[in-house]
Amino acid sequence: MTTTTRTHEKLTMAQALNRALRDALAEDESVLVFGEDVGPLGGVFRITDGLTAEFGEQRCFDTPLAEAGIVGTAVGMAMNGMRPVVEMQFDAFAYPAFEQVVSHAAKLRNRTRGAVAVPMVIRVPYAGGIGGVEHHCDSSESYYAHTPGLHVVAPANAADAYGLLREAIASPDPVIFLEPKKLYWAKEEVDLAAPVPGIGSAAVVRDGTDATLIAYGPSVPTALEAAEVAAQDGRSLQVVDVRSIVPFDDATVCAAVRSTGRAVVVAEASGFASVSSEIVARVTERCFHSLAAPIRRVTGFDIPFPPPKLEHFHLPGVDRILDAVDDLQWDES
């Protein structure tokens, strides 16, 4: 992951997202930001900090407390020339809007044979690792990824956060934008003028030859850490950041897996019927004869997200990833 050094700044992911919103609001009159507490407060994570002050109440505003209402009115606004960017306060609080997301945002273009586009972004502070109480740490990407008509992206660093959010806002289609909460405050060099990673493109973020770790969002730093530890043990792990869950970048991911012949998928969400299942299934279908061992998954368990004191048992960690790598039938190969 190299960043060029032209217009670089040191930003947290939260700041990068704020910057993306600000730049989009400044460049395009039709962009609107709304949701619960996104106005004067700037959102509970401060991602919309200062936007009402800078762009006025017409462009960034609080709504009544109702998620279906937020998504549903955003759909209507998108039908009528706007580009709404809405915030769901935490993952699980997006569920009341599920019908609006799945049956309308995702399907209106198809329903109208292409006549009605629904360009909108639904931002979801996402996943765990912050010691949040119940409902504040769900990983909901699989619900959305399974729903045709939605794009689903999850940045893992500040630069991608900026680029992908700009791209999501510019997209003619609805985008579920998953923001890994635990990465909000990590500071990094960001080149705001760098070419934006296209929605639909994965990135090889660490080279390696023995096995491939496939991760996205909050699991990417964990995977990188695991690769670092493995390197010390003399095992060379490649890390792929999926970045765009839908559309999925088969080419990059499969090329990576073919190059090593072994893979582990890492994700926080419960594994059953999930994005991680899909990655295992589709990569296996495509790379079967290049695989020395079945692809392993290191995911959250098939349990409700645990209480704060127990979340570290649930979340994929370095040790569990390395155990899975050890399990990739090295003797037989």
């Binding site: 009115t73 706007m82 609006q100 273009r109 006549a115 009605v116 045709p148 559309p247």
Partner: protein, 362 residues
């Protein structure tokens, strides 16, 4: 905008300007619409009735999968369209075929949904008619969004957001009314209370004094109107549109009407209601009422009535012809509208289908 509950509560009885026998009631506070306006509405109702009955017949003939008829609700249907200006929007439900047609959409295009060729058959931007909504009350939020977007751009658009009595029980109804009220969005929520949600009578849906009494809880005026009295509908719903356009915010209008036929042809209404109940409503038929009034006023002549009937026949013929046309569906299209551009995955899947078809042809 007012918060005075007295100004937000509906009148004690539904507003009626012409009674079931065709006599003006002389109710104070409302002007009778002009003869021109009423005559135009009547003509559209004659077409609407014919279209309802034509569509019903087309189901029996297997040309439509199913048809939720608005027979008996034509006064509401036509009013919803006629009170709007060109730049306004309408958000109809599956039952509001006649309303969409009264707004100018080709009935053949409207019926594409129920014919099964596609989920919606018309371009919503052409007549500013949203696709007919199937999931109940969900479209009311879209209506608020469309209205608010227009308001933010200072456009004079008003949005007619339509739903049935049953749909008022859904959470989205609540959220839509509240968002509209807080935003002061130019929306008219027009509830056709036809006494049933499929088999469920209104008494099982709500025990409120009336559905119009829901308005005050959002700080928007609720009004109720005789839904089979075209004059009262035009006055009340038209008034709500005017107020919304003038920047006075959203309004809720409940029209008391009746679903004369089963929910759809697939439904068996004898399981849950008695013929006597239906028969009583025949007395209140909206077409008869308006016709009696217009004839008494000397506004509607036999010649005109014959013209209207002919026009209705033309529409029915056109509809029949359109629906008798077998469209050969193109499976490639399945992949074209999911996103603005096919994803690589959709390209693969489309190729699979193309390959299958090529092999079938070979």
């Amino acid at each position: 905008m007012t918060r005075d509950p007295d100004l937000l509560l509906p009148s004690d009885e539904p507003v009626m300007l012409i009674d079931p026998s065709g006599e003006p009631t002389g109710l104070a506070g409302f002007d009778l619409p002009s003869s021109d306006v009423l005559l135009r509405a009547y003509a559209a109702m004659v077409i609407g009735r014919r279209l309802n009955d034509q569509a019903y017949a087309l189901v029996r003939q297997g040309r439509l999968a199913v048809y939720p008829s608005s027979h008996g609700q034509e006064a509401c249907q036509v009013t919803a369209a006629h009170v709007l200006a060109d730049g306004d929007w309408m958000f109809p439900t599956y039952r509001d075929t006649v309303a969409a047609v009264a707004r100018g959409v080709d009935p053949v295009e409207v019926l594409v949904l129920l014919k099964g060729d596609w989920h919606s058959g018309y371009d919503p931007y052409r007549h500013r008619v949203a696709p007919q909504a199937t999931p109940l009350a969900t479209q009311l939020l879209h209506a608020v969004g469309v209205a608010q977007a227009a308001k933010l751009r200072a456009e004079p658009t008003v949005v007619m957001a339509m739903c049935g009595d049953g749909a008022t029980s859904e959470g989205d109804f609540h959220e839509a009314l509240n968002f509209a009220a807080v935003f002061q969005a130019p929306v008219v929520f027009f509830v056709q209370n036809n006494e049933y949600a499929i088999s469920v009578p209104l008494a099982r849906q709500s025990v409120a004094p009336s559905l119009a009494h829901k308005g005050v809880g959002y700080g928007l005026p609720g009004e109720r109107v005789d839904g089979n009295d075209t004059a009262a509908l035009l006055a009340v719903v038209g008034g709500a549109v005017d107020r919304a356009r003038a920047g006075e915010g959203p309004q809720l209008v409940e029209a008391h009407t009746y679903r004369m036929q089963a929910h759809t042809n697939a439904d068996d209404a004898t399981r849950y209601r008695r013929d006597a109940e239906v028969a009583a409503w025949i007395e209140r038929d909206p077409l008869t009422r308006l016709e009696t009034y217009l004839r008494a006023q000397g506004v509607l002549t036999d010649e005109q009535a014959a013209e209207f009937a002919e026009e209705a026949e033309r529409v029915a013929t056109h509809t029949r012809a359109g629906l008798n046309q077998d469209v050969v569906p193109n499976p490639e299209e399945l992949f074209d509208y999911v996103y603005a551009h096919r994803t690589p995955q959709l390209e693969e899947q489309a190729a699979l289908v193309a390959d299958e078809l090529a092999r079938e042809d070979a």
